[in-house]
Structures are given as structure tokens and as C-alpha cells.
């Protein structure tokens, strides 16, 4: 059952939702004030009980990530909190709404987060294009500072906290956390080898926690409701707690961002929230950003084994499985950013893959040969297929190239390219073969809807 909530989006509909006055009227900064008198452990435990899975794509449990930070802060090794608001994953547009419509929840989350990990400085890394978002965050920082919530003595407590916005400069890869740290340090945004992980050596070589912006903006809600109550909201409690932002775009009638309790199904997201498919029937959906493998509308869950986590949905449509980190891994895809892209039957899957592989070729940072060259090969092979001169052998070549990227790169961008590539090839094999045989005439051979159907 679809359960809409309003913890993160309460102020979205109001004109002054971004102001301190409105935030305070809703009880804002009470949780930061309270956190100032709590121990690090108490805050981390609250977050652990919340079962908040990171909203940046990988779904790592937030409380556990916080607990990786050294319990004692050595004076010469300050801790840092870094917020990831690079939001570049194609199809994803949720963090932007938080920054533009309700920036104070992020700032309050930063104060609580700093306190929880022993940091005194938080950097919010925002992709440069989001000018309104940056302005709103800076504005919120100014307001919070004037009130004495930030600065030398937040809420009168001798625990300095400063928050700064750091603008990127146009590079998708800077969303990868170690690349982001290099970019923050004033370097080229090239990912670092792990280990060391950021909790050991992150920003400026110091212990660092990197959290997605939505993850941090949710923290005041966790504290207000209490971790356990927060978790229980979710249909997937206790594995994954709370509420989160769902997005839907592409061929739907009412695209947008919607807040719901965790456990929404793709069918609910597409038909109830997204208003249904425009321009035909549902062909397929990319569940959580372009790096998550595509699901076909006609796919059924295959989990005959009773021990299988998805057994309860065996034989049912993949559209009816609650969206969760583990459930979607079970489907052979990923939850990702929870922002789905919908393709109607008027969209050509070959063209869709071509569009996305071009994206990866453009955005590869170029450090690793398999990723740099592989992404180029994928695009060029698809150029050829789209031009009508592809062969069936090219399909095997596409798989080979994708497989040679997997596991052979410094960062997860490689998998993020290869997995969706293999997903398209596996799910749309007949369509790809037909396309090649007919030089594209078997397909709509386009992505956009025909004018009449667009209405």
C-alpha cells in the first residue's frame, strides 16, 4: 500500500519553505540543539536504530558508516563531514529539491552529523550548475550563523561547527566519493584507490565521512521521531527504515519527486505517483539512475527457492516488488538513487542504450584503460548499429567489452557502465537482433514520442 509521508517535503509547497522563519515554525533546529547535549554514541545509536540506508546509490547503512569514525579525535587529525550533492546520475533529481526548497534541514543535519562523528567542519559539495541550490544553502548557513546555531558556540555549547558550500565544475565522476574528495582538495576529480577508505584518510588526508545530501537532510527527522519509530514507517523494516524521496521521469504523465515510506513498488511509482505511462504501454524502467540495470515490464520474479528473499513474489511481476536495496539486488538490478526513468513502447531500447553509453564515454575520468577505452568502444559499436551497419557479432563484442570493464577499474564507474550495458543486451536481445537484421526498421528507432502521442 502506497504510503505518502511529509517529513522531508513538508515545506515544499510553501513559497518561503527555504527560510529560517518557516523552518523554525515547524520546530526546526530543536534536534540540533538536543544533539549538542548528547554523546556521539547516543546519536550514532539513534541512526543505527533508524536503519537509514544511504540515499546516494549504494545503500550503505548510515549509522554503521558513522561508527567507523575514530572514537577519539586526535588534535592533529581533525574529522570532516562531507556532503555529496553532486547529483549527476542520469534520471536523478531529488537532492536538488531539498536544497532549493528546504535547505535548513540539510544544515541541521550537518550540525547533528558533525557532532556524531566528532567533526567541526562540514563541506557540502554541490555540482556547479545548481546555482539556486548553492544560493539557498549559503543563505541558510548565513541565517543559522546569525542565530548562533553555527559558529564557535552552537546553541551556546562549546563545540564549534562550520558549514561551507563547495562548488564542483562539471564532472559526473565527482559524485564518486574519493573523486569528490580530490575535487574538494583542489585537484582533478580522479577517484582514489581504496583502501584507505575515507574514514581512515579522506578529505585532506583526515578521517572523513561522506554522506549523500538526502541522507543528511533526513537526520533531523530520525532524531525527532526516534530511530526505531523512523525505521518502523518502512514496509521493509527492520532491513531498511523510514521514508525517502522517490523520483520518476521519462514517459510518464506526472513526473516528479514524491516522499513515501520505504517500500513503494515500481507499479505505484509509475502509475499512482507518475500518473501512468504516456505515449503507449510500459516497455521498461530503469529503477534508480542510469547505472542500475533496466527491468522489462513483462519480467516476472524468478525465486522458486523458499529460502530466497524474493520467494514471496515468485511468479509475480517485478513491478510489484517493494523497492529496497536488497530486494532490487535480488532482481539483478539495484535500487540506486530511487529515481526511475520510464520508457514507453514508443521508445527504442537500442537508442536508449546508445544515449547512455555516450554519457559514460563522455564522463569517464580516463584513469583506467578498461573504462576509458571500453566506454569508447561501447559507444562506437552502438554508433555502428544505430547507423544500420551493425552485425550480430557486434552484439557479442558489446558484451565482451562490457565484461572486460567489470572488476578491472579503480572505481565503481566501471561497473556502473558495464552492468547497465549488459542489462540492455540481456533484456532486449531479440529487439537488438531484429534491429540489426533490419537496419533499424524493426524499431520505432527513436526515443521521443510521436507528436500526437505526447499529449
Amino acid at each position: 500500500m502506497l504510503q505518502r509521508t511529509e517529513h522531508l517535503t513538508k515545506r515544499y509547497g510553501t513559497k518561503d519553505g527555504h527560510t529560517l522563519e518557516r523552518y523554525l515554525a515547524d520546530g526546526g533546529y530543536e534536534q540540533a540543539r538536543r544533539a549538542m547535549s548528547m554523546s556521539r554514541e547516543e546519536i550514532v545509536n539513534e541512526c543505527k536504530a533508524a536503519n537509514l540506508r544511504g540515499r546516494g546509490g549504494a545503500g550503505f547503512p548510515m549509522g554503521i558508516k558513522w561508527s567507523f569514525m575514530a572514537p577519539k579525535v586526535a588534535p592533529e587529525r581533525p574529522h570532516y563531514l562531507v556532503i555529496n550533492a553532486d547529483e549527476g546520475e542520469p534520471g536523478t533529481f531529488k537532492d536538488r529539491t531539498l536544497m532549493e526548497k528546504d535547505p535548513h534541514s540539510t544544515i541541521e543535519g550537518c550540525i547533528i552529523g558533525c557532532r556524531a562523528i566528532g567533526a567541526h567542519v562540514a563541506y557540502i559539495y554541490v555540482r556547479d550548475e545548481l546555482h539556486l541550490a548553492k544560493d539557498r544553502l549559503w543563505g541558510a548557513i548565513r541565517e543559522a550563523k546569525e542565530k548562533g546555531y553555527l559558529g564557535a558556540k552552537p546553541f551556546g555549547v562549546d563545540y564549534p561547527v562550520e558549514v561551507y558550500v563547495h562548488a564542483g565544475a562539471g564532472a559526473y565522476i565527482c559524485g564518486e566519493e574519493t573523486s569528490l574528495l580530490n575535487s574538494l582538495e583542489g585537484r582533478r576529480g580522479e577517484p582514489r584507490l581504496k583502501p584507505p577508505f575515507p574514514a581512515q584518510a579522506g578529505a585532506f588526508g583526515m578521517p572523513t565521512t561522506v554522506n549523500n545530501l538526502e541522507s543528511i537532510a533526513t537526520v533531523p527527522t530520525v532524531m525527532r521521531l526516534g530511530g526505531e519509530n523512523f525505521s518502523k514507517m518502512s514496509a521493509l523494516h527492520p532491513k531498511e527504515g523510514g521514508c525517502r524521496l522517490y523520483g520518476v521521469s521519462g514517459h510518464v504523465k506526472t513526473p516528479g519527486i514524491f516522499e513515501c515510506a520505504v517500500g513503494v513498488t515500481l507499479r505505484e511509482l509509475i502509475y499512482d505517483l507518475g500518473g501512468g505511462v504516456k505515449g503507449g504501454e510500459l516497455l521498461a524502467v530503469i529503477p534508480g539512475g542510469s547505472s542500475t540495470p533496466i527491468l522489462r515490464a513483462d519480467e516476472l520474479v524468478n525465486a522458486p527457492n523458499e529460502k530466497d528473499a524474493l520467494h514471496a513474489w515468485h511468479g509475480k511481476s517485478v513491478l510489484d516488488v517493494p523497492m529496497g536495496v536488497e530486494t532490487f539486488r535480488g532482481l539483478g538490478t539495484m535500487l540506486g538513487t530511487c529515481c526511475a526513468t520510464v520508457l514507453s513502447t514508443q521508445a527504442c531500447p537500442v537508442r536508449a542504450m546508445h544515449n547512455l553509453m555516450r554519457f559514460y564515454r563522455v564522463e569517464s575520468c580516463g584513469q583506467c584503460t578498461p573504462c576509458r577505452e571500453g566506454s569508447g568502444w561501447l559507444e562506437r559499436l552502438l554508433d555502428k548499429i544505430v547507423a544500420g551497419t551493425g552485425t550480430l557479432d557486434d552484439l557479442n563484442r558489446l558484451s565482451e567489452v562490457a565484461n572486460s570493464i567489470m572488476g578491472n577499474t579503480i572505481c565503481a564507474f566501471g561497473e556502473g557502465t558495464a552492468m547497465p550495458a549488459l542489462g540492455f543486451l540481456k533484456k532486449f536481445r531479440p529487439e537488438f537482433e531484429e534491429y540489426i537484421r533490419t537496419g533499424g526498421r524493426s524499431s520505432t528507432n527513436r526515443l521521443e514520442l510521436h507528436a500526437a502521442a505526447a499529449e
Binding site: 581533525p78 549527476g88 550548475e129 583542489g186 521521469s249 521519462g250 575520468c365 526515443l447 514520442l449
Partner: protein, 159 residues
Amino acid sequence: MAFQLTPEREQQLPEILARYPTKMAACLPLLHLAQEQNGWVSDDVIAYVAERLELSAAHVFGVATFYSLYHTHPVGKHHVWVCRTLSCALNGADAIVAHCEERLGIHVGETTADGQVTLHTAECLASCGTAPMMQIDCEYHENLSPEKVDVLLDRLRQS
């Protein structure tokens, strides 16, 4: 003549440096500030940033060339970025790009002869729910149609 920040921009520098434990970390913000003034990142800008932050010119050049939003060649007064990634493409981005090219009389990557406008394509700009969309300088324009694009471009060419 060597590049210098205007006095107003110069005043922002100490506050920027105070945010970070290293000078190097001010590299991206200072490049933004300098490009905003100069229009693009020239060799003079690189030399200036390197000197102010005690970095090698090679480091600053490496940074400037890594990121797509620093222009290391002269560009138009205004920038038009049309998003072409999947959600926008599903909603007609290719037609918007073609329309802009025709209307401006240039290809993607080029600048109009009067130096007013440079046309770019962009990868997903986090505005997929309001596709197709484009960014003009610092502003987003969403749910585009060719008619809407005409109004925006006409306004731009005159400003």
C-alpha cells in the same frame, strides 16, 4: 597585461581561503571567480591562480582542463547548455538541440559570429522531471518547447 581580480572579487579571497586547511583547496573556487570576471580561463588566469595559491601552473592547468565548466578557450558572452541525456531525450531533447542550432546558425560547440552565444550540450542536469530542459548562464529553463526556446534565444541575442 597580467590578470588581476577586481577589488570587489579580491575581497572575497580571504574568506574563501579561510574555509579550507590548505591553499590548494581554493583552486576550484578561485578559478570560478576568475572565469566569471574574464569569461574564460586564459594562460594569464592560470598563472594568476597558481601564484596566489602557491601551486604550479601545471597543477592549475590540469585542474582547469579536467572540468567541463572551465573554458580554456575564448567563448561567447552567454552559454546555452541543452541537456541531452535519457530523460530529456525521451522528451524531445534532440529536437531542441537541432532547433537551437538552426535558430542560432551554429553547431553545438560553436559561438555565434557576434560573440553573444555559445551552444553546448550537457549531460543530465538533475532536472529530469521537467524535461526537456536547458541552462542559460546561471538559470534553468524547463519543460521546453521550440516556441519557448525561440523566446529565450531572442532575448539572449539582444542582451
